[in-house]
Every structure is written in C-alpha cells, then in structure tokens.
C-alpha cells in the first residue's frame, strides 16, 4: 500500500484532483477549462522544466524568479526600441549570460548552489531595477505586433503558451531519458564522487543545467511579456518557490539523482488544477495556497515513507 503510493502517488493525486473537482463542479471537466489550466500553468511550468534538470543534478536554482523579471522587463522594453526579433534575441543572450554566471560559480568554482542563487536573486533584482530605473515598462502599440503570438494567440484552438510548455516538456523529457547528456545529469546528482571517478565532467554538466534553466526562464518571459504587453520590475517575485513546489510535488528529490520531466509537468498541473478548481467552487483565491501547503507535504511524506518502509521517522 505504502509502496504503491510512494511510486504512483503523484499520478493518484492527479486522478484524484480531476475526479473530485469534476464531481463537485460541472464547469471543471471540459476541454476549454483544461486548456485554461494548462495555460495558467505554462509560465511556472516552463521554468520548472529547466529547474528539474538543475535539481536532478543535485543543485537548486532560486534565481529564476528574479531572472524572469529581468528577462520580461528586457524583452518588453527593447521591443519598442529595436523591434521584436532583435529584442527576443538580446533577451536570450543576456538571460543565458546570467545563467552562465550561475553555472560558472556553481559548476566550476563549486560553491553552494542555494547561496549562490540566493545572492544572484538579489543581484539580478538590482540589475533589473537599475536597467529600468525603477519604472514599469510597456509596449506602446499592443495590437499590431507579432510579439503577441507567444502569449495571446492560439494554434488549432490551443493557446500558444500551452503549446510552448508542452512541446518544450516533450523535447526535454526525451533529452533527459534518451540521451547521454540526460543520463550523465542523473549520474552527477546521484553520486558526485563516483561520477567524477568515472570520468564525467561534472563542471561542464552542472554549468549546462544552469544554462538550461536560464533558457526555459527566457521562454517563460516571452509568454509573460507577450501576454501582459508590459512588465513590473518585480513581476517574477516569489516564482522561484512556486516553481520548486511544482518540481518537488513531481517527486524530484532535492538531494539530486532522481526525478522526471513528465512528473514535474504533472506536479505543476496539479497546482494549477487546485487553483482553478477551488476558484470554480467559489472558495477565496488564497485557499489554494493552504491546500498547496498540505499537498506538498503529504506528497513528499508518502514518497519518503515508501522508501523508509515506515510512515513515521525514527528521530
């Protein structure tokens, strides 16, 4: 029983969420509402894809929230100055540059990832404010720009943010499971010393996980900037922890060495479903946070209890 929940807990929780909400409100189970859920999950979800790689590699990334603010402010501000194409290009260049600073400090200098990314969180926030001078930015002509594609349009009835999220998710799942790169990430997260003696270049691998999380954060900034057509300086504040909540809920261990993109996607979708379902049922907006609290702890608890073979710890 315990073993079963430990292994399939997240899928059970997903099904449970769907069943409970479908039974309690008729508005929940429809294609339209499901697409809404995926779209709401798309920003946090897209970031979570890259962060999953970082966490499997045995590290953390708390800087993605600030980085999202930075990238969104940058792309929105540059849009009117140099045009959407160049703006997007420059946004990715600078976002990856910051990601590579994280990667260098953590991969090559081997500093503790939690503290480095905590420092970067505050530094990037400062850089964003210096860049914008503390003012909000927006796009003046919001109707006649193809930049609207990423956040406001739909292909074959599916919103583009959802497509970006799902397609990136599928690609990264394949990379994680079917390529040597993916296997090496598991190896360095599972046992850093053993992987070093097996000749894996841990430095370079850790570095690349941070590039990846910066890249997915850049993609999320495209969605966010395009949807809002403007940005506050602190738009991504607190996102790092919501992202981590999704990743953890998906069963990726904070110790590294285990996890999966598919389960991260399910984790993020569960959080979005809780939000959506509780709102449809007429609960106050912030009730979802209370439920999230319980869900995260119970999910990780079951996971640990299954590995331990006992429900309670022995301390």
């Amino acid at each position: 029983m315990l073993q079963f929940f430990g292994k399939h807990g997240i899928s059970v929780a997903f099904v449970l969420c769907v069943v409970i909400f479908s039974l309690s409100t008729q508005k929940f189970l429809s294609t339209d509402n499901f697409l809404t859920v995926v779209m709401q999950a798309s920003i946090i979800g897209t970031i979570a894809l890259g962060v999953t790689f970082v966490v499997i590699g045995g590290n953390l990334d708390l800087s993605v929230g600030s980085l999202l603010s930075f990238a969104t402010v940058l792309v929105v501000d540059l849009h009117d100055k140099v045009g959407p194409g160049t703006a997007i290009l420059l946004m990715f260049v600078f976002t990856l540059l910051i990601g590579s600073i994280n990667g260098y400090l953590i991969g090559y200098l081997r500093l503790n990832s939690l503290i480095v990314t905590l420092g970067m969180l505050s530094a990037i926030q400062g850089i964003t404010l210096v860049y914008s001078g503390g003012k909000n930015v927006d796009i003046s002509d919001q109707t006649n720009t193809w930049f609207a594609f990423f956040g406001r349009e739909a292909l074959f009835g599916v919103p583009v943010p959802a497509i970006i999220f799902i397609v990136l998710g599928i690609i990264l799942q394949i990379v994680l499971l079917k390529t040597g790169f993916g296997r090496k990430i598991f190896a360095i997260g599972g046992n850093a010393t053993a992987s070093l003696f097996s000749g894996l270049r841990r430095n370079r691998l850790v570095f690349s996980t941070y590039l990846l999380s910066a890249f997915t954060t850049g993609c999320a900034a495209l969605i966010l900037g395009s949807r809002v057509m403007g940005s506050q300086n602190n738009v991504g504040e607190g996102y790092e922890l919501l992202v981590l909540a999704g990743v953890i809920l998906g069963g990726t261990s904070l110790l590294g060495g285990s996890g999966s993109i598919a389960r991260t996607v399910i984790g993020v979708l569960i959080l979005a479903m809780i939000q959506n379902g509780l709102l449809l049922l007429g609960f106050p907006y912030y009730t979802q946070w209370l439920v999230t609290w319980v869900v995260i702890i119970v999910a990780v608890w079951l996971d640990i209890a299954a590995k331990r073979g006992k429900l309670f710890s022995t301390y």
């Binding site: 708390l62 420092g119 969180l121 504040e237 106050p284 009730t287 979802q288 710890s313």
Partner: protein
Amino acid sequence: MNRIIDLVKRQPIWIFVFICVVFFSFSSPYFFDIRNFSNILVQASTIGLIALGMTFVMINGNIDLSVGATLALAASLAVGLQPQLGITGAVLVGLLSGIVIGALNGIIAWKTGVDAFIVTLGAMIGVRGLVFIYTGEQAFYAHDLAYSDFGASSLFGMPVLALIFICLTIIAHLVLKYTIHGRNVFAVGGNRVAAKEAGIRVGPHMLLNFILIGFLAALSGILLSTQMGASTPNLGRNYELWTITAVVLGGTRLTGGFGSIIGTLGGVLAIAILRNGMNLLQVPSFYVLIILGSILIIVLFIDKRFAEPQGVGA
C-alpha cells in the same frame, strides 16, 4: 600577516562591517553619529531577531523559509484583533500564532522526516495564504496610539526596539555557547545519527528550535508593526531570503554544525549599515541589492577557499 589572514578566515564579515563604517564615516557627515547608530540598530532589529532563531535552526542543519509569512500573520493578528482583545491580548495572540506555526513546522519535520526546506516551503505558501484570507487583503491600522508610541519610545536614550534586539542577541549568544541545549544544537547539526546515538532526543530538540524561530519571527513582526502603527498582508515578503543572507554572511554553514551568534550579528549589521550608508549617500537602493548579492557570493567563496577541507569529492 598570518593573524590578519586568520581573522579574515574566521569572521570575514566583521572586517567588512569595519570597512563599511570607516568608509561611510568619511563620505557622509551624518553617518558617524550616535542617533544614526541607534537608527541602524532599529532598522537591523527586524531581520536581526529572526536571524537569531535562524542561526539555531541552520546550525541544526535545517532551514526555515516560512518566517516572512509568520511575521505577517503575527503582525496582522496583533493589529487586527486590538478592537476585540485590547493591545495586550492581541499581541499575545500574535506571539502565540508564531509559536504555533513554529511547532507545526517542527512536528511535521520531526514526525514525517521530510526535509525542513520542503516543510517550511509549504508553510511559507500556506501561511501567506492564511494571512490573505484573514485580512481580506486589507491593511490594518492600530487606532490606539499607545501601540505606535511603543515603537517610537526610548529607554536610557536608546530606542526600545534596539534594546530588545541587543538583549535577545546577548541571551541567544549565551544560550548557544554555554548551555546544554546550545551544545546539542552543534551536535545535531554536525552529525544527526551520532547525536541520536549519544542520547540526544533529536526530534524534540529540533522542534524546540523551530518554536524559537517561530516566536522570534512573530515578535519581529509585531515590533515592525509598532513602528508603522499598521500591518499589511504583504509584510515580510522575501524576509526569509534576507535572513538567510544575513546568517550565511555571518559564517553559518548550510550543511549545519558550524556558526555563531556573533557572526550572525555581523551579517545583520553589514546589511543594515550598507542600506543606511548608501541611503545617506543618496545611492538608489537598487545598487544595494547588487552589492549584497555579490558580497554573499564572495563570502561563500572565501569560506570555501580557506576554511573547508579540500578533497576530491568536496
């Protein structure tokens, strides 16, 4: 020369504090002034009080991300319940809420064995939700002026808030250094299994530290609300990050088993002095964020290069 290097290794943050004081004293005529110093202490007390508890929790090898939300809950209760319970009753309920949240975190971490990072990450989201639901997303104002008068009052020429911070810092230092509980904090953080084998009741021990930090976060929130005579539901946002920054600047290791209240005080003062000094020099606060982030990484780098054992797996 060796002694200087030794000092840099042990307490690099106090050297930074010293450099900051010298620098700002020469560059601003308003900095080196007893009134400004007590001002800095008041500003430092909010993060500082939480950082005292965070030092215990982090030496234990745990972390508490829920302190910012706990602070907001306590402040909202202490201000919001005043019409019904009076100031004393409302403040007591506020403090109690911090103890309850701390105990909840501690019991969950103890009984389930889930990592404190995850337990308190959950609580951070959940408690903040609780604050928004309780306040209805409104700010509360203290109508009784006695409440905000307390935040502005002085004793022996020192602001009361600064005095509270100094007293609690001294007590925390003594407890950590000279009591059995303090010794156990290091033992549990250094090697949890060995500590258990040696007869320390690890679970209840950690629970006590979570209650301590919950209480200090609540106290910090209530004192902050006396400064403003009000509370807002967004109060204390990101304070968990500032607190951890201060504690890590002070040399406490995330891996546990190593740290000191004196170091933490240095970290707290470094942040407060930097903010105050830059403010006096009229530097936009954005740059403080960049400088603090960089210093955090540099301190970590120094710690890694000089203090940690170097090895293949390290």
